[in-house]
Symmetry: C2
Subunit: 335 residues, 2 copies
DNA sequence: TTGAAAGCGTTACCAA
DNA sequence: TTGGTAACGCTTTCAA
């Protein structure tokens, strides 16, 4: 009972060529000066046969699919999911559909996804790029395919991106901790050479430095290769080794959550014995016994901007847009 | 610098027809008995020219897109996001790509998404169906398009689905509360005639009934139309009106979270004065001062099963599969 | 063993 | 002004 009605069926029924039907159904009847009665007949027939245009055929012909390929780290992660939602809305508003994939921070998966999306002729990409995939991104650019990076970028690559002011994020957070009287402030970060992580570490260090606290600078670097459950154990171990420490600044959401479990387990008193600032929001932060202060990324702005820049590029904009959004420091009971 | 290399380019370069190239690049050289040197030449040329097959053209020709259309309520909601991830993995494993959209529990959006995905010729749908969209789903079935519903289903509709045993979920939870000595157990649910919600309410009522607690049955019904922030205020109001109550059972994740905010605000002592059981997991549950007991849906099973059933249908299975998964009751400090 | 050619459903060029 | 018809890139049948 498949409803495969094509332009040809309508054309036959009305007794005209498919061209006319196409014009009318695309609203070009004025421009192409199609006879009035023919227009009405075609409209009528289309409704009667319940005609549904075939986007695949249209895409093949037009050379554009009205599809955006989105690559995030993990769609089940709230950060990815929220930004995906914002991108979806902006895409739909502009008549685009989103196909997505999760890279799991894995180079091979990233490449496989890019290839799949290329085969499917996406009009452009929004990518949260995995470390070490400069060449994959560069390859897209060389092919002339519109790309916007989010969350992270590559210094050597002249590509549009929308990212957080990572330096300012941790700089402000550290300054706040110092103002609250904390001095032995340690940071928990991922061990990676990614620019965004380097910038977050630099923000912390710089804030410490200009307050004459160099001696206290100490970054707990968690290897990326570690499994989720091990993260907690690793941080716990490091915290116990730490001889003096009165505040902790976390570099990402996942590290914050792992840290919260540790702090609960070790029974550290927040904020009296230990000040904490987390990264990104989470409902879990609200229910920690001392609701967490945290650095908030304006996800709406990032997503909307990324999508609109990409759609601009798809529509022919030539200008590379590198947009930096400002973090918001939400202060609550934990610092 | 666009890399538009087609079969024809390779054919020309090697001096053969596009048919041969197609065979070789699809691995049919044995079956079609293509000459050995020709095979090698074609492979070589394809690599040299960096040939990328055009899925759009292939889809048009084959009449299948290897694409799954996924409609969830809201991709930014962790429940949707997690199940999406599972579906993604299963899809990728089988060579499918996922296009998705958020319905926001809105009939119009649901219909628009279905239409968009139809135009795009998806091979099948996985849908968490919005209340009142029976006809939209029925329309797909009538067209012969494979559909699998998740989370909810329609009694009148004979469609494949994968859902939770909703009755058992709340029945078991209520029984547990009763066994812990709670008697004045109230339920917080959405006000809707959806089967899944009705079943959850029924599970609660039945457990109360068989324990001679009919008199205590009381369902706080939150209107669906309410805004997120209002949910909290509404529940708070109802809780204050409640003259006697010693336990609360929440019917969904969002209601649980809203309830947790209220309980914190009203300063109710959990579990001494009030037992709580939530629905679905959440990191926030872990950090509530009395870590929450909750009914867990096996999301992995739901997603995997839904995807595999759908792929089965796409590949020609005729059988309608209606799969019910079992809830897991996780008991912790709050009950 | 190979190739010509017919489509898939649409759009858009160009001829009348 | 209107309407054929070629072409988008691929698969697949049929003939050579």
């Amino acid at each position: 009972m498949s409803n495969r009605v094509s332009l040809k069926d309508i054309a036959q029924k009305v007794g005209v060529s498919t061209a006319l039907v196409s014009y009318v159904l695309n609203g070009l009847e004025k421009e192409k000066r199609v006879g009035e009665k023919v227009v009405i007949q075609i409209r009528e027939a289309a409704r009667e046969l319940n005609y549904q245009p075939n986007q695949i055929a249209r895409s093949l012909r037009r050379g554009s699919t009205k599809t955006i390929g989105l690559i995030v780290f993990d769609i089940s992660n709230p950060f990815s999911a929220q930004i995906t939602r914002v991108i979806e809305d902006e895409a739909v508003k502009n008549g685009f559909t989103v196909i997505f994939g999760s890279s799991d921070e894995n180079k091979q998966k990233s490449e496989a996804l890019i290839d799949t999306f290329l085969y499917r002729q996406v009009d452009g990409f929004i990518i949260a790029p995995v470390e070490g995939t400069e060449n994959q991104i560069a390859g897209l650019i060389k092919k002339g395919i519109p790309v916007v990076l989010i969350d992270r970028y590559f210094l050597q690559l002249n590509v549009s991106h929308v990212i957080l002011d990572n330096f300012k994020a941790t700089f402000d957070a550290t300054i706040h901790l110092i103002q609250q009287g904390y001095k032995q402030i340690k940071m928990v970060a991922w061990l990676t050479s990614s620019t965004h992580m380097q910038e977050r570490v630099r923000g912390y260090k710089e804030a410490m430095r200009i307050n004459d606290l160099q001696a206290e600078i100490n970054v707990i670097e968690v290897p990326l290769s570690i499994l989720k459950l091990e993260t907690e154990a690793f941080i716990e171990m490091k915290l116990q080794e730490m001889s003096h420490m009165d505040a902790l600044l976390f570099a990402t959401n996942s590290l914050t959550l792992a840290g919260m479990y540790c702090i609960n387990k070790l029974g550290l008193k927040v904020p009296q014995k230990l000040g904490i600032i987390g990264f990104d929001g989470s409902e879990a932060f609200d229910f920690f016994y001392a609701p967490l202060s945290y650095v908030e990324q304006p996800l709406n702005e990032i997503g909307t901007k990324a999508a609109s820049v990409l759609i601009g590029l798809i529509n022919g904009d030539k200008e590379i847009v590198q947009h930096v959004v400002q973090p918001v420091l939400n202060i609550r009971n934990s610092s």
